[in-house]
Every structure is written in C-alpha cells, then in structure tokens.
Symmetry: C2
Subunit: 349 residues, 2 copies
C-alpha cells in the first residue's frame, strides 16, 4: 500500500548537495548561494518533493497545527467563526483541525483525547459553559498550551478570552425597543444555565430597570438556540402574557421560530409585536419580515482568535483583559422602526 516516499535525500542527490543544504533552502535559513538554491529548487520540482510533516515537526518541535473545539459545527455561528479562524490560520501557515469533543449528558463537551495528543500548538475553544458543568474540557489541556476561548474560560495562564460584550449588546437591543415606546417586552433566552444566556438576559434586565421597569420572570422564556426551541418558548411566553408588544430573542434562529409562533397566533410583526434578534445571520434580511438584529462579528471573531492564538504561540504575553469586538444593531423591519412597504434593498450577501 505504501510506495517509497521521495525524501530530502533524493532531492539532495539530484541537486548534488548535502541533504542539510536542501533543508536550508526549504526553510530559507542561513545563507545559500543563489546558484545552489536554484539547483535545489529545480530538483524539488522535478521530483515533486514534499517535506514530511511528521519528520519536520518531530525535529523542529513545531506542528503548525491549531485545534478548534466546538459544539455544534453545523450551527452557523460556530461554523462562521471556524471559517474566519481557518482563513487567518492559513495565512500564517497554520492548519486548523476541527474536533468535536465528546459530550456529556447536557451536551457539555467533555474531553477531546485526540486533540491533546496531536500536538496542536494552540487551542481555540468555543464553549459557553453552563452552571452545572464540570468544565472538564479544560482539564485535559496541558497547562502551558496556549488557549483562546470564546465564552467561558477558567482562570489560567496562557489564555486569552475573545468575544463580544453580550450584556451591552443585549442592553442596546432592548433599549432600541424601549425607545420605540414598548413597555412590555418579552425575552426568549437560550438555555438558562448557560453563561451566554445569562449575560444577554442581564443586559435585557438592565435596560428595563434603567427605564424604570421591573423585569418580570413571566416575560422570559427559555429556548435552546434552535428555531424549534424559539417557536415553543414563544408560544409559552404568549400563553402567559397576552399583552407583550415586543420580543427580544437571544439569537436569530430562535427568532425565526418566534416569528412563526406569532404568525400562528395571528399577531402581525411589527404592528402587533416588534421583534429583535441576535447574530445577524445571512438570512436575517429574508425573514418575514426582515429581522432587526444585533450584528455579531463572527468571521472577525474567528480571525481575531486565530491571530491571538498565533501571537501566544509566538511567545507574546496574553492581554490581561478579554478582547471584545464591537456589535451593532442592524435595524430592519421586524422592530417597526422602519416604515413603508417592504423593499429589500440594503441587503447584503
């Protein structure tokens, strides 16, 4: 099954130099005469030689491998972050491998044995931990391995946290609805035990309080980030509160379910109920009606993570403060701030 590999020595033989010189050319280290370099490159070309990554990394103690640990890769937000990270990594000569971790009973990622063996030089962990979790995903990781996290992070050396200011973003979204005159604003959250949900909910409650409104638990319903979960949560919420005039939903997928629930109840959006989502997924402009939502800079987040991870690997000290990227509210039709019929012009990709 295995043919004989062409090695650096074959190249050296053909070029008439020592194989170490070929190595020099490959890594352009030291000085190599222009003429020699040309001969070596020609030999490489002729033999279609490709250095063996295993040998290379064994000798150099570098793998140029970055690991990403994430839950649901088919979730757009995760996938998009991965995409950004991959692009950044590639530009720096790193490769990313995606390893779903094994999951505990609540879907909590547990341990990723393969990852730690495979000598990633750094790890990007997307993990919005939950109250009950053991966070055991971090236990497996050697203490000196650089880590960048989105979401929960333990106290640890060599770790950078990256993310958005969830609380602030949620507050702004809620303030927008308050500014439109709404006083009874429902809230659909993610799983209540997850920190991300909690942060966004805090922002929502802060905004209400600043407006002199006491947050009511009956106005809050929990989903599970999915459209189906958002649909069900919204139905529950509407069942308890017939007087909601606005809804802030913690992500766009759930918002899609929410819109469906409202439709079924005969409530028009935005006339009867205004809706604001979170994430600004590409299809948000095509919701019915187009969705006002908080833009989540996922791709940039991915790029930033990979960039910071590479910095850490290069020995730069971790910034003490979490790195926060900006969000912004994208106003479309579902919140009622735009009037007129429904042209979709200001639409991106």
């Amino acid at each position: 099954m295995k043919r004989k590999r062409t090695t650096i020595k074959d190249v050296a033989a053909l070029a008439g130099v020592s194989y170490q010189t070929v190595s020099r050319v490959l890594n352009d280290r030291d000085l190599v005469a222009e003429e020699t370099r040309a001969r070596v490159l020609a030999a490489i070309e002729a033999l279609d030689y490709r250095p063996d990554a295993s040998a290379r990394s064994l000798a150099s103690r570098r793998t140029y491998l970055l690991g990403i640990v994430t839950g649901d890769l088919s979730d757009y937000t995760h996938a998009r972050i991965l995409e950004g990270a991959e692009a950044e990594a590639r530009e720096h000569g790193y490769l990313i491998f995606a390893s779903g971790a094994e999951r505990g009973r609540n879907g909590e990622p547990l341990r990723s044995p393969l990852l730690s063996q495979h000598q990633a030089e750094g790890l990007l962990i997307i993990y919005h931990g939950a109250d009950g979790d053991s966070h055991s995903i971090f236990e497996d990781i050697p203490g000196d391995l650089p880590v960048v996290t989105i979401g929960y992070a333990p106290d640890r050396e060599n770790l950078v946290r990256v993310g958005i200011a969830n609380r602030r973003a949620a507050r702004q979204a809620t303030e927008h609805l308050l500014g439109l005159g709404h006083r009874c604003i429902g809230h659909v959250t993610g799983p209540p035990e997850m920190y991300e949900s909690q942060e966004r909910r805090q922002g929502y409650e802060e905004a209400l309080q600043e407006a002199g409104i006491t947050p009511e638990g009956s106005l809050v319903a929990a989903g599970d980030w999915s459209s189906a979960g958002g649909y069900r949560a919204t139905l529950r919420l509407l069942g308890r509160n017939s007087h909601v005039t606005a809804l802030f939903v913690q992500n766009d997928r759930m918002a899609m379910g929410a819109l469906q629930a409202l439709r079924e109840r005969g409530l028009r959006v935005p006339q009867d109920v205004a809706v604001v989502g979170f994430d600004d997924i590409p299809s948000a402009p095509y919701f019915a009606p187009s969705l006002t939502t908080v833009h989540h800079p996922l791709y940039e987040l991915g790029r930033t993570c990979a960039g910071l991870l590479i910095d850490l690997i290069d020995g730069q000290p971790a910034p003490p403060e979490p790195v926060r990227l900006e969000t912004r509210l994208v106003v479309r039709r579902s919140c009622g701030a735009q009037s007129g019929p429904a042209p979709v012009n200001q639409i991106e990709g």
Copy 2:
C-alpha cells in the same frame, strides 16, 4: 517556551522496563505480561504521559489524519457534512482537519498546499465543479492518496464518489408540483456552470417533458445559492413571467429569498405561487410558510464519506459505482399540498 517533554523513555525508566515494551503496551502489540502491563500503565498515569504524534507517525507512517477540502464552511450543507464526517472519523480514531482551499477567480478551489504536506491519509473533497474550472484542486493530490468526493470527481484510482441522485431528486420535486396541477413552473438554479445546478435542472426538465411540457428557458433564473441570489433571481423570473404558478428552487437558502421576492410582489404562497426547495435545512419548517423541500441527508453523507475513506485507507477496493444516498420530499405548506391553517407540529429539530 518549551518545557522538556516526558517521553516514552521516562515511562520506561519509571516502570523498570525497556522503552520498547512501553510501546508494546501502548499499541497492544505482541505479548506483554499482565503484571508488566499494569506497571507500565501506572507509570503512564503517574507521569501524565502522552505519546508524541509526530514521532509516532514518523515511525509508523500513519497519521490518522483526514483532510476535508470544501468551499464555504459557513454554508450549512457543508458544515453539516463536516459534522457527520467528524463524528465518524472520531469514532475510528481519526482526526479531521478542515482546510479551506485557496480560491481562483470564480471561487473555484485551487490548491491546498498545506493539506498535501500534512499527510492526511485521505481526503474528503466537497467540490461541485463548474464548466470553466481547471479542477486543479485535484492536481496537487498524490495519485495514491485515497479520496472521497461529493460532487465533481475526475477519473482516478482510489476514489469514491458519494452523493445524492440530484437529477432524480429534482425530478421528483418537480413531479410533485406537476401532480398538484401546476403547468407553468419556474426554476431557480445555482450558478449555471456548476454541475450540481445542471443536474438538478436536468431533473426539472425531464419531469416537465414527461408531462408533455416543453421546458422554457425564460422560466429558469440563476442564483448563487444565497438567499440574496435567490431573491434577485426570483424577481428577474417574475419580471419575465407573470403567469408562473409554482417555483422549484434549487436550495432552501435561495428559496428563502424567493419567498421574500414573492411577498414583495404581493403573491401569496402557496395560493398564488407554490414553492418547493431543496436541502431541508433545519429552519425550513419555520419559513413563512413552512417550506416543502427535498430532504438532503447531509449528516449521513458526511458519515458515509468518512467511513468509506477509512475503508479505502484500510486497503479495501473502491466501489466502482458512486454511492448514492436517498433523498425524500418533505411536504410542508409552501407547495399547497397541505390545507388548513398553519400548525407547526410535525416539526423536527
């Protein structure tokens, strides 16, 4: 920056055996006395030893690495395939790394230099080639490297094609609309130069012809798989044809844009225009109205691909015929086959 690694020799010293014996225990090869094995395992535990993957793969010529080359990872269909593949791979002890390839001018993936160096033992390539493409992505790949493809595939040893029967699925979708009495059925395709678009269009046209209808080019408009593209394509199509009563759209994201376009034109779905999509993405039940669409078994596709790839790596011969997975039409409300108001009960995930 680099602490001294604990190596197999440290373990051996602690356990009082030769390091090769530790290797034996690790790979449970040959015979090892139960008592020795226990001692070795204890030493491994005590030192928190993890074998070095580089050294291991250098010596054994195995990397347990699978590469996946794909376009848009943030596209749900690709991400979901990756997810399936990753799960299957993990169960077999393989790791998957995701490398976006460099792109040519039409977004055609070109070459992925990192991939080939990093000794993936097999490659999963998702690439729906286009007419004008050079397919150069395949040029880089050593001829003896096992490859599984979804989409276009060159003639080649050691390659398995996996996918769905696009033409047949598209024909069934179209037949469904014909069965509902529609005679003037518009069609929104992907980029016309892509084989995937072409196959689905063929299925659409076949169905029409079998029903005695001559396919008309004016009823076909091309998008780019995105919601925005579907929106624009649908507007173009409606501009040319005021009498369409149904629309078959080649993927759900474009269908979402199509629904938006129809809404803006004041056309009700399904009363004025019936719509059928393709893929059955998780949010399809939450479209307004919920979308009738062809279920695309993406996750299973990913699992199948990884499984077949591992079979190839294990030396099993490639099945001569492409492996085809079943699709099925999921009937919801957008096609008008279901009547009554709009309960969302039979909804999954």
